[in-house]
């Protein structure tokens, strides 16, 4: 139920619902960007039930994999 799908903002129309088109791979849907007032086209958001919940932070997204490299470096040879 709390499924959130990452998508890239294509455009935004200002208004109370701040509707905009968001691309989820090949699928494009109209969603409300009312809760991400600073989000602009080109940025990624996570959408749930037709509402963008928050913007995705690309630097933080990469950090998960940097921490993996640090783990393996700490082990030396792979077991």
């Amino acid at each position: 139920m709390c499924l959130g799908v990452p998508g890239r903002i294509l455009d935004v129309q200002e208004g109370p619902l701040r509707l905009g088109r968001v691309a989820f791979g090949p699928t494009v849907k109209e969603v409300s960007l009312a809760c991400v007032p600073e989000a602009v086209p080109g940025e990624w958001v996570v959408v749930h039930a037709g509402l963008a919940l928050e913007r995705l932070d690309e630097a933080e997204a990469r950090r998960v994999f940097e921490s993996l490299a640090e783990l393996e470096a700490g082990w030396g040879e792979r077991p």
Binding site: G4, A34, C35, L53, F65
Partner: protein
């Protein structure tokens, strides 16, 4: 970066599983709170990658599963009325009330529609001014802002034919109930990532401190879940009990303030009964008096409607992590996804349905 495929990488998952193996010295029991996390764990067989010391319990975070039978019965009573167009997320249609489900009412001619968003129901209310359009507003904090936005917008537009049947629940009171139980088996939590994207992590600090339990906000893909488990197990091994954020690419400590403002404008805290578990004080959201005109239960006079749930269903034990689905005598026999006794077998995120789908008839997708 596509924000999905990267987090399903098998090599990364194996590295994390190895890190967990190296870290663990004693048995630990973790609970993933959200049904979406349960689904990923069972689908990808993540529990089978873990060392034997680490056990996972599946938590109560499936709103379809915890919506009380009485509110399903109220939904059935409203949907059956002539002149009503009843809108719902798809997975609520097969949830049994005390006698039948929304599909049964639909098959007798009721106008029951599956929508993707409460904003779709709002659009229907504009298109069908002669019909009463009702949206079934179930969900955790993740779904509350979308429902609040729909109601606030209906008021702005003066859409008098729109209302919502509310059964909103909140995560922290449920975690408190699980931690305070004398049967508590949980050593650490993987908190629900999207709930925290909305609400932030501030409500979890007092829970972690009071019960000395690590709480790691965790996302939903295999790499995310394994990293959340590693962070949680590391805290347990080191004697720490902190709130940590594995889902930093989305979740901020303060959460999403505009979403919280919408929830606060439209909803207020109420006591709520959870299906299979019972009443939990302050665990729900209901409409504020200023928005009472949009309360479908009141509009259609169904507040007193509601029968008992099946005595054979042990979903309450499953939802609290006290019983594994396959240990229920009805699992796969009297209770299947086609003929569910309770909601944990209905929802695709219910623990019983996940085990039935991925462990009995389908091979586990290997990483």
């Amino acid at each position: 970066m596509r924000f999905v495929d990267e987090y399903r990488d098998g090599a990364a998952a194996r590295t994390l599983a190895e890190a967990i193996r190296r870290k663990v010295t004693r048995p630990w029991t973790l609970m993933e709170v959200c049904g979406g996390q349960t689904h990923s764990i069972v689908r990808y067989g993540l529990d089978e990658l873990l060392p034997p010391e680490v056990s996972l319990l599946h938590g109560p975070g499936c709103p379809v599963c915890v919506t009380p039978v009485a509110i399903i019965d109220q939904a059935l009573a409203i949907a059956a009325r002539p002149g009503v167009t009843f809108c719902s997320f798809g997975d609520m249609l097969r949830v049994p009330g005390s006698a039948e489900d929304l599909f049964a009412v639909k098959s007798r001619g009721a106008d029951v529609r599956v929508v993707y968003s409460p904003l779709d129901a709002l659009a229907l209310a504009r298109e069908l001014p002669d019909r009463e359009v009702v949206f079934f507003a179930v969900g955790f904090e993740t779904t509350a802002p979308a429902n609040a936005l729909a109601v606030a917008q209906a008021r702005r537009e003066g859409l008098a034919n729109f209302s919502i049947l509310v059964s909103h629940v909140r995560v922290p009171p449920a975690l408190e109930a699980i931690l305070a139980s004398p049967q508590r088996r949980v050593d650490g939590f993987l908190a629900a990532g999207h709930v925290c994207a909305v609400m932030g992590t501030e409500e979890y600090g007092p829970l972690a401190a009071k019960h000395h339990v690590p709480i790691v906000v965790t996302a939903f893909e295999p790499v995310d879940l394994l990293q959340g488990i590693l962070l949680c197990v590391s805290q347990l091994e080191e004697g720490r009990a902190e709130v940590e954020n594995q889902y930093a690419r989305l979740v901020q400590a303060g959460g999403n303030r505009p979403a919280q403002a919408l929830i606060g404008e439209v909803f207020q805290g109420v006591d709520r009964t959870w299906r299979g578990i019972g009443p939990i004080p302050g665990s729900g959201l209901g409409l504020r008096p200023a928005y009472a005109a949009f309360d479908a239960a009141r509009r259609f006079g169904v507040e007193g409607v509601g029968g008992p749930e099946s005595a054979a269903c042990q979903s309450g034990q499953v939802l609290q992590g006290l019983l594994k689905p396959m240990d229920c005598p009805a699992f796969g026999k009297a209770c299947t996804p086609d003929h569910p006794l309770g909601a944990t077998m209905v929802s695709s995120e219910g623990a019983c349905a996940a085990y039935f789908r991925y462990r009995r008839f389908a091979p586990v997708e290997a990483l």
